[in-house]
Symmetry: C2
Subunit: 301 residues, 2 copies
């Protein structure tokens, strides 16, 4: 049997919503568990920050994503920034329409202006870089209390570190990794200690291990529905289909067995032959070709 | 006689408009020539780029500022970016109200999508950093044609390089210098050649020399109105009143005679005594105190 899973970098919406979208688009039932987004590993940090004031940054509904994971005291950076008058000196030049008006309605246990921010999560691509870099520098320099004295930096987590990705424009667009470089360069210039952070996401082999574990869980629950006894066999092979050599293929290579990497010429990589630095196990022109290959391979072996 | 001049960093509006505003606020007639903004020195580059396609970046009306200086083929980055579909992958998350709708109406001699951008001017603080950094990387990497092949970087000019300045928030806010650091760090990471640029503005002694020349021109024209003969004497003393030691005081020090520096405790500097690295000739608590000192000094000496 062949199972299909999606590791989506974009993110910014809860896995439950993304699963619904994908089910509709693909005409197949996709469970939330089958959707692994860049920010999915943040779930593992719930125990550590469950009741702490944390700030969630990025497009979409970063606050709702973190709340669904179980964090109880989350503010999106939109709402957090709105607690501090004049924190963004360029605000008068920005006429935003808030995309996530419901985020504000989340019950907050504490007044964020007097409580220290305990951790910052970059959930998806930040939209308003000038404000977000300013507010993050404020939080990080002061130990979580903008406008106050210098103090120890709270932990900072990024869902991924992709510098560029292929979107609709002919040339690659800047991603979360570029935002990290901008924030880090400015922070290190205005602060004595270098910025400390943790990046999740591909090519970190953790993501592939995590995906393998999730796959095993899904398979086990499906297996238990069919027959009540027996042990699951570990995977003979897992396919990574990706369009970004340094992220997708590099990550699958680092993860090693049972990962088999297939590079498509549909995104970042458009070259002839294989990629020089991160050669894939197979290079194809499209996702369809990749799927055809897998179907042939798995039905004949 | 004592003359009063304003060297304003903020900018983003033509000197003619700023002079009108200041005249109203101060109740004294201020000529456009008496207003020296961060971007005023861009005027000196008109001969070089008069008919070339150039892009103007920043809050306010950067296109109108450059058009008033005499550049004939200017586009604000708002209008430039709108010529390229999908150039900003985060655009769908941004609901801006355009602040300068008239910029778009400027007659353009050429189609910007097919014509190379010959130079980029950062006129005032950029507002939409994620888009501006993306579009500038596109322009700079491709020699002025976003989406095309890599080519020689067109010249890039910044009106100032202030990393931080004091605004209404209790802690300093990030300025144009911080934007430059963000752009440069990302550009140097995705491109083989390092970003080349020229920064005008304080503490560059050029700004002080330029101010001195302008003062002399204003004085000469006033003098000619009073009597038709006679040569102007060079200044015995010029006062720099500033709130930023590394920019205002450092710049006045570097410019040397006839500049006399007065540091106010109203902005970036709030310490007791003088600044350690850039000591001013005089430190006072307010601009009023500085003016009192100057009036006493000039009436008694």
């Amino acid at each position: 049997m062949i199972y299909c899973f999606s590791i989506v970098i974009g993110g910014g919406v809860p896995e439950s919503e993304r699963a619904k979208e994908l089910s509709k688009q693909l005409g197949v039932d996709i469970l939330p568990l089958q959707v692994i987004q860049g920010h999915t590993p943040f779930r593992e940090l719930v125990k550590r920050y469950e009741d702490d004031l944390i700030v969630a940054v990025g497009k979409g509904a970063p606050g709702r994503v973190m709340t669904e994971y179980g964090f109880k005291n989350v503010l999106s950076i939109d709402d957090y920034a709105s607690c501090f008058p004049n924190i963004d000196p360029l605000a008068q030049y920005k006429k935003w329409t808030k995309m996530q008006p419901t985020d504000r309605e989340m019950a907050l246990r504490t007044d964020p202006c007097s409580q220290r921010v305990q951790a910052v999560f970059i959930v998806s691509d930040p939209v308003d870089w000038s404000r977000d870099i300013q507010v993050l520098c404020d939080i990080l320099r002061t130990g979580g209390l903008p406008g106050r004295e210098i103090a120890h930096q709270p932990p900072l987590f990024f869902a991924n570190d992709d510098i560029a990705y292929q979107a609709l424009f002919p040339a690659e667009r800047l991603g979360m990794g570029a935002f990290r470089i901008a924030l880090e360069s400015i922070f290190n210039r205005i602060h004595t200690n270098n910025m400390e952070y943790t990046s999740y996401g591909k090519p970190n082999p953790f993501v592939f291990k995590n995906a393998e574990n999730v796959l095993l869980q899904v398979l086990q629950s499906a297996y238990n529905n069919i027959q009540s006894s027996g042990e699951m066999q570990p995977f003979k092979r897992l396919y990574m289909i990706g369009d970004n050599p340094s992220v997708d293929i590099n990550g699958a290579k680092q993860a090693g067995h049972p990962w088999f990497s297939i590079l498509t010429r549909t995104g970042v990589f458009k070259g002839i032959g294989n990629h020089a630095d991160y050669p894939a196990d197979l290079v194809v022109n499209s996702v369809e070709e990749a799927v055809d290959y897998i179907l042939r391979k798995e039905h004949t072996s």
